[in-house]
Symmetry: C2
Subunit: 191 residues, 2 copies
DNA sequence: AGCTTAATGCGAAGAAAATGCGTCTGGGCC
DNA sequence: GGCCCAGACGCATTTTCTTCGCATTAAGCT
């Protein structure tokens, strides 16, 4: 039924899922995203198309799953010694990754999946986790930390809005200004 | 080539475009958006599928065009006597329209079109125009007005981010808080 | 080990996507 | 006003995708 909530996590089902995901990534690099089709992916993965249709429903859901995995952060945000420096560095990196052609494609694919499936909210959760980690670290230094929701509103949302709706203007100066705005207001001790 | 930049605005081409758009709207209401196909739409519009493929390229572009038209604001924002009241009313209405199931579908469809086609940026322009109108009116009253970019960052972007990535929590209290935040800072005399 | 259940493979049928070619409409020009 | 050309359209065809039923295989459990 669901690709992620596989009732049988081990064994063949897991191998099939991994194989199909890998096939998507490989073919995406080889023939381009727009040339992807279910039969093509299935052939590369060594499964039959009907298996893909059964497990993911359609190509969109499959691409949505793969895109979300690609958007998962690699590790904890790097430590730059202060809340502001950490946020600026993270925001700049976030903007760069997401505004690239590949990044925007992943975001759009992730958004395309069934909303009930939760792929979109997962993207937001990734950013929230990173911001939370930065906040916890800053709180450990004794700094006042704005809560995650405020940071999502003040930093992540404007970046994402421009990436999705106005694909052009995104400079480091702009992200720094967003961080400055976020830090200039609404700083609760810790959340 | 492009559906909107039709080289022949008058005559049959215009009728075809109108007929196809109307067919999309009708069928969307009748059979649901996910059941739409090019042959189905073409049959309803009284044209052949190849015409649709030639003019729009694929179903996504067509749906993107129709979605953008549906997202076009009806008229000027209503006047509530003050900048804050105007913004709050507009933001609440914006949030309600966009967060509905239909609204979210239109946004996603609009985002899906070819970025070069400019459907996404058109959505942003619609919001910017409305905000600009509110700002001009407020400036006429002598109020200090934040520039449109700030309002996009502080109000529109957070709303859109939540609509797209966290489809659940959107209250009037939240939109009011966004407006309050936007008005509390960065108020240039006029732009 | 044997049993139950679920997931996969396979093949066929139905539907949709995409393309090539001939025709016709519409707008510009004489 | 009539002619001409570029572009748009309809039709037919081919290719590809999608769905479905049934047989088979593998995983999980006792």
């Amino acid at each position: 039924m669901s690709a992620r909530a596989t009732t049988r996590p081990g064994g063949r089902s897991a191998r099939v899922q991994q194989s199909v995901h890998q096939a998507v990534r490989d073919l995406e690099a080889e023939v381009g995203r727009d040339a992807l089709t279910v039969p093509l992916i299935a052939a590369r993965a060594g499964v039959t198309p009907s298996t893909v249709y059964r497990r993911w429903g359609d190509l969109r859901e499959l691409l949505s799953d793969v895109a979300v995995e690609r958007l998962r952060p690699d590790g904890a945000p790097t430590d730059h010694g202060s809340l502001r420096a950490d946020l600026e560095a993270w925001a700049v990196q976030f903007a760069e990754e997401m505004s690239s052609t590949a990044g925007r494609t992943y975001i759009r694919d992730a958004l395309l999946g069934d909303p009930e499936h939760g792929n979109a909210v997962r993207c937001s959760d990734y950013a929230a986790e990173q911001l939370k980690a930065i906040g916890v670290r800053a709180a450990g230094r004794g700094e006042a930390v704005p809560d995650v929701e405020s940071l999502l509103d003040a930093v992540v949302a404007p970046l994402m809005y421009r990436i999705l709706f106005r694909p052009s203007d995104l400079t480091a100066a702009y992200t720094d200004r967003l961080v400055a705005t976020a830090l200039g207001r609404s700083s609760t001790p810790f959340a």
